[in-house]
Symmetry: C2
Subunit: 447 residues, 2 copies
Amino acid sequence: MKETKDTAIAVIGCGTVGGAVCEILLRDRDLLQSKTGSRLRLKYIVDRVFTYAKNLQLDDTLFETNLDHALEDDEVRIVIELVGGITKAREITEQALRAGKHVVTANKALLAHHGAELMAVARENGVSLAFEAAVGGGIPIIRALYDGLAANSIDAIYGIVNGTCNYILTEMIDKEESYEEALWAAQSKGLAEADPTLDVGGADSAHKIAIMGAMAFGIQVDFDQIPVEGIDNLQQEDVMYADTLGYVVKLLAIATRVGEGISLRVRPVFISREHALAWVSGPFNAVSVYGHTTGHTMYYGRGAGGSPTAAAVVSDIIAVASGTYQVFFDRFAFWPDRNPPTDLIAVAETYSRYYIRTMVDDTPGALARIASILGEHGISIASILQDELPENNGADQEPHFVPVVITLHPAKEANVLQAINEIDELDATGEKSSLISIVDDHPEGVS
Amino acid sequence: MKETKDTAIAVIGCGTVGGAVCEILLRDRDLLQSKTGSRLRLKYIVDRVFTYAKNLQLDDTLFETNLDHALEDDEVRIVIELVGGITKAREITEQALRAGKHVVTANKALLAHHGAELMAVARENGVSLAFEAAVGGGIPIIRALYDGLAANSIDAIYGIVNGTCNYILTEMIDKEESYEEALWAAQSKGLAEADPTLDVGGADSAHKIAIMGAMAFGIQVDFDQIPVEGIDNLQQEDVMYADTLGYVVKLLAIATRVGEGISLRVRPVFISREHALAWVSGPFNAVSVYGHTTGHTMYYGRGAGGSPTAAAVVSDIIAVASGTYQVFFDRFAFWPDRNPPTDLIAVAETYSRYYIRTMVDDTPGALARIASILGEHGISIASILQDELPENNGADQEPHFVPVVITLHPAKEANVLQAINEIDELDATGEKSSLISIVDDHPEGVS
């Protein structure tokens, strides 16, 4: 083995993940050195306050409140950005890169919004920006995209990349709870924030698909073009109908090729119980990738939590200390700063199967009207489910709205939305229809 | 990006995988170059006959029957060994390494038996030996062990790594077929060989756990010490009882720490339906890895087939052409040639939960005798299942053997085997009892 070089490291931000990174670097220094040949030396723990760091009993001689001290220290080769948020994190990352430090980050929001720009700064300064921990916590999914699946042209990615949402959905299914009840359960277990918007609204998943999509397809993504729908408007009836129809509701982050273009989107979908992702329950994450030579592979594990996320950060530190990451970063073409901004295909232009639940007045002819609207838009019905009703004795002239559940063959989303609008305007229909796309298995291009 | 270097490649053995590798290298040359910055040039396709290569319409100017021509060509940097078998493959690999060529192989049998020795030869000659395709086909599991999970001390690996066995077991479960019927179905679909011994007997899975175990734990494995049990003696009744008890029967390749030692083993087990591996069906493979910081991660995909396996070979070619693989191979300590031969812990010394099915004469006291034998060996019963019997009117003095199904709390395998021997010797028991270990979830050391 090569002689061991000592790699000095500054961790910026000592919260849950930062604290866990420091713990691993201090506790496992000998293990990591004997395994990887790199001696990783934590030299600075930079933060404003050290209450949490002290609770972890981290070595207080490493505490530093002045970031510049760490960045001006020529010994420091790698800076770990774990402050979170965007504005401050962007400043710190840029400053560190300009100071000639490699940066390792777990900050998906930062990368989704400013990844290309920061990678370009890294390159100008002869250093690299690594971010395995930004997607899927401890799951080495970013490596799969830049290394393991290198022989592939990627066709599609489907990811369950938000543990909070997956936990809430699993609760809604297993315990037949409403969204509100399940959210409360997640919050009381510490699996959802007091303000859960970033998770349940889908933005966190969108950050992650922006990062994966850019690398998988070799494009630069404008984050604001990604259509995002969270689980916060999901109705329990639809979750139950999914089960009846052989599906499971999951919040998916999706990236697919559509003709010559790329579509990225985040939304709750009905996923077939036959699909490997359907079984990913509770706080676990998983990402399915479809490559033109490898076919379907899936990567599963803990998508959050201090230790798994910190392990991904440390795997990047090892890769930078060993020099492997720089080779991928230098030679490979799919990093977003190397590709021009690419307009995404509007989701209205994508094709999918769909589930519709419409509340229909049980008068004769209502269903025929609905079927005829779908037909006028060239949309083909795959199945209709309407439970039998108590007989209407005619004495009562009030409308009786009952759910009609329709699944569609593949159709263009724009057409389906148009048809749904017309259906919802009928006198014979009640509240706004539910519309959820259906994901069966993605076709594999290989045998 | 760095200037593109042309990397000349010789593929030795043009069968299913070799043919697919050649196809990818020829068809996707521009894609791979634009993606990875490496220009991969297939220069020789070496084989004795080219019937298959001609069927694929591969460029016949590359055909070469004389291996020496390829090895003596200084332009050739990477040799792809895909001849299969051990003796000839070992000769070719050693010859190529001594000629200063990097070798990429998919040959698990070769690596399980001679991996350490060949890696040492590679190192002496300043080259590397890469083998992503040897385990799990297209799944980048070897990379997870040497790169993605680098921050971990690995606690355990559980792998479904033989698609033939997994297909047969899925058939036995879904269609309630016997082993023989399911094997026949697999053979008629081309998913099992005419002589399926290597697959169904477990040796192929053992090759793969030998490779993964060596890297995960940083040891040199003596292949002959791995206890191997296949699916060929599995009885359909036991497969059905698994279902009744909430389990699924899977052939697992297992590597675990046991005290200061390591146990590797291959056997059919009852795996809890709650475990992510339980849902891996048909010809798919998956490997669960438990690391001390990342916790549980799982890697899923097509474990065989020309294109997925070839994609893994090509990912190694790219890694060698880029120079990343050499860094891992040079700097990291867990390669088997860098560790002394390690005696495995005998499986009799391992602890597990167990399932026992004993045929018992339905005379009073028989069950009590069994329970008392287990108790004498310090084994604690978790559950007993005995279906109600038609009443014995006493007129008939023949023994009525009925199945009694017992599950155990964790016990030492040696003790369980001893107890089973004594139970099988009782007059009150019939044919040999079934004994199958139970895998619930492996404890994760992280939150």
